[in-house]
Amino acid sequence: MPGIDECLLEAMRLPGARGAALVDWTSGLALGVVGESPGGDHEAAAVEAAELARLAAEHRAFAPGDGGALGGATALPVEDLILSNRDSYHLLRFVPTPFDSSVFLHVWLARAEGNLALARIRLGEMAGRLVLA
């Protein structure tokens, strides 16, 4: 069964992967990091990505039509976030946990080699395998 490090190493096998992290979006804590970090500092990158994730998770405009009310107390209003710039993609995947938490997987991909569609599918599978028995 995979732990945090195995999950991040698996994410690093995605085409074009430069770095991966598991981050708590309430506190900005990086629970695990592998590879390079965008901006050169893993902790700072985690804090900044957490800020973005928190906005997406909390604002009603991004929630599903039922307002996120269906699916129980630990259901997530948002699945993932995609951000692109001139040379890279950032993919943030919220991790559904059976207990109360606020974590997401963050993968940083080089734009030339990265495949966003593939990464999105794989990351969803990894997020599920990380916590669901």
Binding site: P2, I4, T26, S27, L31, F99, D100, S101, S102, L130
Partner: protein
């Protein structure tokens, strides 16, 4: 030509507070020393304890933060019976948690996530400023349930960052520990789903810690929401009851310089 100069007086040994706060060791000189000597044992502080193995933090507990067993059982990730059985069978929390992972009731990832979350959560309170010096008990008292050890350096940096995060949200720390009451502002701002879960439990009696335990949520996460709600004017700490007891005799009153002196004395003793 002779230049007559006087030797400048030696500088008084002043503790450089800014430097102490920037680097590691700003929180507890004792902890920094224990990390340097790769100590194993339990550091007991006023608001919680840190378990060290080879100078790294492997476990933390605080009465202010729900333990990982509470986080796991509240939402039915583990049902309470399974947990109690595992606990009875192994005799320790860490042994029990290993057992449920081995039986496939919990993935390794979920355990790491939950344990690490609870570790940083409890450490935040354990490393809070204290009025009494910490004690360290050497010895391999820790159970073999080490999940993911965290270095003291990372732990202290994260704790300082969390303090700063809370201060930026709402600078008054009173809401962290006092019973909370609901306030109805003229124009109530929208609250998030997680905040509204906190808000419904505010009843004038529960503190942020009580709410965290009830929700099976990390206490620091609850504090973030409580401070946001306080900043939005939706909750406030219960004002202390009006004292009817006779005023405290003046002999017992302490002025700030005394406290500063005592704290410096404590810091100096801890740093020995």
């Amino acid at each position: 030509m002779t230049v007559i100069g006087t030797t400048p007086p030696p500088r008084l040994p002043v503790r450089d507070r800014s430097a102490a706060h920037e680097g590691a060791g700003g929180l507890s000189p004792m902890l920094t020393r224990l990390a340097a000597e790769r100590a194993t044992g339990v550091l007991v502080r006023e608001h919680g304890s840190l378990h060290l193995a080879d100078g790294e933090v492997v476990h933390a507990e605080s009465p202010h933060a729900p333990g990982f067993d509470v986080l796991l059982t509240t939402h039915g990730t583990l049902d309470a019976t399974t947990w109690q059985e595992a606990l009875a069978q192994t005799g320790s929390k860490s042994g029990a948690v290993r057992l449920v992972v081995d039986r496939g009731r919990l993935t390794a990832g979920a355990l790491e996530l939950c344990h690490l979350g609870a570790l940083f959560d409890a450490a935040y309170f354990a490393l809070a400023p204290s009025s009494t010096p910490g004690r360290f008990r050497y010895g391999g008292g820790h159970q073999p349930g080490t999940v993911r050890p965290v270095t003291v350096d990372v732990m202290e940096r994260e704790t300082l960052r969390r303090r700063e995060l809370l201060r930026r949200v709402w600078p008054d720390p009173l809401a962290d520990s006092a019973p909370l009451i609901r306030v109805a502002p003229a124009a109530a701002p929208a609250v998030t789903a997680r905040q509204s879960a906190v808000l419904t439990l505010v009843n004038g009696v529960r503190t942020a810690t009580d709410i965290a335990r009830e929700l099976g949520r990390q206490a620091f996460h609850t504090l973030v929401d409580v401070r946001r709600l306080a900043a939005a004017g939706l909750v406030a700490p219960q004002p202390p009851p009006v004292r009817v007891s006779p005023p405290v005799p003046a002999v017992l009153s302490v002025s700030d310089p005394d406290i500063t002196l005592l704290k410096r004395l404590r810091d100096a003793l801890e740093a020995l």
